[in-house]
């Protein structure tokens, strides 16, 4: 039987709490960075830096960080089809 895959949906105001689950935080400019190495910015699979405001979530593929712009969300929707 196929294993059920679940999703966690969170309120935007809890973005920092979700980031901390993945050992991430934000720097002075509000870019998402590695908590253990704040000079290391987290990148999307397209190599883009992510502002906290733009953070849409994390998906499998080890850990893929997603931006909330429409083209990123279209790509995500294709993976879910």
């Amino acid at each position: 039987m196929k294993k059920m895959e679940r999703a966690v949906i969170f309120d935007k105001s809890l973005s920092r709490e979700v980031l901390s689950i993945f050992d991430k935080t934000t720097d002075d400019e509000d870019f998402i960075v590695e908590a253990a190495n704040p000079s290391q910015k987290v990148l999307t699979s397209e190599g883009e830096e992510i502002l906290l405001e733009e953070f849409a979530g994390v998906t499998k593929g080890s850990e893929l960080f997603i931006k909330s712009d429409i083209t990123s969300l279209i790509e995500l929707s294709k993976r879910k089809r």
Binding site: R6, A7, F10, D11, K12, E17, K60, D69, L73
Partner: protein, 271 residues
């Protein structure tokens, strides 16, 4: 041990029987005004946690459990609520027969960046046609793809991808010397300059519109293009276009066709 079993130990709430629910979503809410820690919805298969209601230790154990489930593959994603709603909306609107036909036609013919912009433009058009605002989405596309994105949006809304651009491909493909790169070059020019159409915006003055129309007509004549389309939406833009049409109709070697449906106008200038 599944998440629910772990949660029974973590959070001091009665979850008896809950392990039989095949839950699909874990929702983490931020509702400080509410006291309830957990709500189980058997119908929608959702478990909602109100994060501020949990004790610090409970918050820590919850996030640890969720991370373990993510690492083991039981949880496939963490998604912010409005982004999740957007993804669901995209999944419903983008694969419509009409959109899919256009995507299938262009997907092996244009550059990947143009295809991504076209998909986004088709989604925006689907929303626009329901009467909802698309201003923010358009800004996102223009931020990502620049002038290409702006022109693809405009051309898509005006139906050029199922019309003129497709016809050009079909014409070009007849030629013995046709290569896909030649069509991609044509497509790049189209998306960079939108040469055969003017989309009148509220920021464009009558003088600017007149200059743009005359410049494009001259350029088109030089390159053997036989028409120019002028598109406008809204009362003010329609008024500006009618004024230009009056000027154009005074020129004897031009033919002007007006197609107006309430708040939308398309003027085709043939020469």
């Amino acid at each position: 041990m599944g998440l629910l079993e772990k949660l029974k130990d973590i959070i001091n709430v009665d979850l008896r029987g809950a392990k039989f629910i095949e839950y699909k979503k874990v929702i983490i809410l931020n509702q400080p005004e509410k006291k309830e820690k957990v709500v189980l919805d058997e119908e929608t298969k959702e478990i909602s946690f109100n994060y501020p209601s949990l004790q610090k230790e409970e918050q820590k154990l919850l996030t640890q459990s969720l991370k373990e489930e993510f690492d083991s593959g039981e949880i496939k994603e963490f998604l912010e609520r409005t982004s999740e709603e957007r993804v669901e909306d995209v999944r419903q609107k983008l694969p419509s027969v009409r959109n899919q036909r256009i995507i299938d036609f262009y997907k092996e013919k244009i550059l990947p960046k143009h295809l991504r912009a076209l998909e986004a433009a088709l989604y925006v058009r689907s929303i626009f046609e329901t009467g909802s605002s698309v201003a923010e989405l358009k800004k996102e596309i223009i931020r990502k793809f620049g002038e290409d994105g702006k022109n693809i949006l405009n051309l898509c809304t005006a139906g050029y991808f199922e019309g003129y651009i497709k016809q050009v491909y079909e014409e070009m493909a007849f030629s013995d010397s046709f290569t896909i790169e030649k069509f991609q070059d044509f497509f790049t020019i189209i998306t960079q300059t939108s040469p055969f159409a003017i989309f009148v915006s509220k920021d464009m003055s009558e003088g600017e519109l007149s200059g743009e129309v005359n410049y494009k007509i001259q350029t088109h004549r030089r390159y053997g293009i036989k028409f120019l389309a002028i598109h406008g939406i809204g009362r003010n833009n329609i008024r500006k276009i009618h004024k230009i049409v009056q000027e154009l109709e005074e020129e004897t070697d031009l033919r002007v066709m007006i197609n107006q449906d309430r708040n939308v106008i398309i003027v085709k200038v043939l020469f």
